[in-house]
């Protein structure tokens, strides 16, 4: 070959196309969250999960396996349980842990499968709202529950559990 005039060249080449060209789908959305939120969530799932196994198994045992089982569950049964602060605390813990555990589980599922940012935001908003509503509602129910309801004359309602007679 012979030497001739050089081809016009760009100043310093073109960027290496295949080491930098990445499908935008794969560009990391969060540059670096730097907080340990995901780790905290991960630990919480394990700790709350282990606690929930005990809480729920006992809950199921007491509600379904002893006495008359499912037939025994009525207003009086609930009232009887919540008259005892231990059960109040039990159910309260269960409510909070279960909702947070479930809510966080749903959040990871949304993170996994919702690819569009807008979908993610929507789904997570709905999720947060429902978790908050349920937790607040449940907590209020447990704390404000009045087992021995009376009518406006002060008589115990028929449905009031038996122990109310002794109060």
């Amino acid at each position: 070959m012979t030497t001739t005039d050089s081809v016009a060249l760009p100043t310093q080449g073109i960027e290496a196309p295949r080491s930098k060209r990445i499908d935008p789908k794969y560009l990391r959305r969060s540059s670096s969250s730097s907080s340990s939120f995901e780790m905290a969530g991960w630990v919480f799932m394990r700790v709350s999960g282990a606690a929930l196994v005990v809480l729920i198994f006992v809950h199921l045992w007491v509600n379904l396996m002893v006495g008359e089982g499912i037939h025994g569950v009525d207003f009086g049964f609930v009232a009887g349980k919540w008259a005892n602060p231990v059960w109040q605390f039990w159910d309260l813990t269960m409510l909070w842990l279960a909702m947070l555990h479930g809510g966080n589980g749903m959040r990871t599922i949304i993170n996994d499968y919702a690819e569009k940012d807008s979908t993610r935001v929507w789904l997570k908003s709905i999720l947060t709202l429902s978790v908050v509503v349920i937790i607040v509602l449940g907590t209020m129910v447990i704390f404000t529950f009045e087992p021995c309801m009376v009518d406006n004359t002060g008589q115990l309602l028929d449905s009031a559990p038996a122990f109310c007679q002794n109060v």
């Binding site: 295949r18 080491s19 060209r21 990445i22 499908d23 789908k25 794969y26 990391r28 959305r29 969060s30 670096s32 969250s33 730097s34 340990s36 939120f37 995901e38 780790m39 969530g41 991960w42 630990v43 990871t108 993170n111 996994d112 499968y113 690819e115």
Partner: protein, 262 residues
């Protein structure tokens, strides 16, 4: 002195050979090979192509693919290089599982049914069995896959005890074939997760006693898309052609992140 376990006694110069079994006529058999084809230059649709082939006892899936490419349809496209499981070019999905085509013997598969070959999942398919590996290598690059040692280098080697060397031996086997990452259900979803291979390569340095940048890698992997997205499905461990206990490595990194932040 590092004598291997024991200096083997000088072996006999002659021994009685058992009539070594095996060998003999290499049996041949028929297979049906189905490959998921895709070439956007000619069609936006993927399709399944099927071939009947006569193959032999020592043939691997890669040999069947070559037989098609070389004798029947030259447009069948796949990557391969070393053909014995050390270069990591030919990870693909064989009968639904990620495998290296050069390591799966045809006789070990159920040849009464078609053998189905597809590209690995979760990475953009470029043509037939070729996928775009860039996102995979990008994750690899982000975890700083190289040794960082800030202390002044000695004139001879840096010392490392055999135990410290053994600590990360498993993860040094990685050949970056992407079989693990593309077997991970979490990676399939949105392609954001760093994936097993990146974590394995981070592990290889985090647990190397000579390295000083473990903290920075743990920081990277404590990210939203880092180790906490691992759901321990063990697909990665099953898929690894090098037998790396991938999930175990990820778990060790998780524990390291935990310990570090306590």
């Amino acid at each position: 002195m590092s004598t291997p376990t024991k200096e083997a006694a000088e072996p006999a110069s002659k021994i009685d050979m058992k009539e070594s079994g095996g060998g003999g006529e290499v049996p041949s058999f028929e297979i049906t090979l189905q490959v998921r084809r895709y070439d956007p230059e000619f069609s936006d649709e993927a399709r399944w192509d099927e071939w009947q082939l006569t193959m032999y006892g020592t043939d691997r899936v890669l040999d069947a693919l070559h037989k098609v490419k070389w004798n029947i349809d030259g447009s069948l496209t796949f990557r391969r290089s070393c053909a014995h499981g050390v270069c990591g070019s030919d990870a693909m999905r064989i009968n639904g599982r990620n495998r290296l085509a050069c390591k799966v013997l045809l006789k070990d598969l159920d040849t009464s049914k078609p053998i189905m070959v597809e590209p690995i999942k979760g990475l953009p398919v470029e043509k037939d069995l070729i996928v775009d590996m860039e996102p995979f290598f990008q994750s690899y690059r982000e975890i700083m896959p190289f040794m960082v040692n800030n202390s002044p280098a000695p004139t001879a080697e840096r010392l490392q005890s055999p135990e410290d060397r053994e600590r990360f031996d498993d993860t040094t086997k990685c050949i970056l074939c992407a079989a693990c990452t593309s077997s991970c259900p979490v990676f399939w979803t949105d392609g954001q997760y760093f994936g097993p291979a990146a974590i394995v390569n981070a592990h290889r340095f985090i647990f190397d006693s000579r390295d000083d940048a473990g903290d920075m890698r743990l920081e990277v992997l404590n990210d939203k898309e880092g180790v906490w997205r691992c759901r321990t499905t063990f697909n990665c461990t099953d898929a690894c052609p090098r037998g790396i206990e991938v999930t175990k490595a990820i778990q060790e990194v998780k524990r390291a992140v935990l310990t570090r932040s306590m």
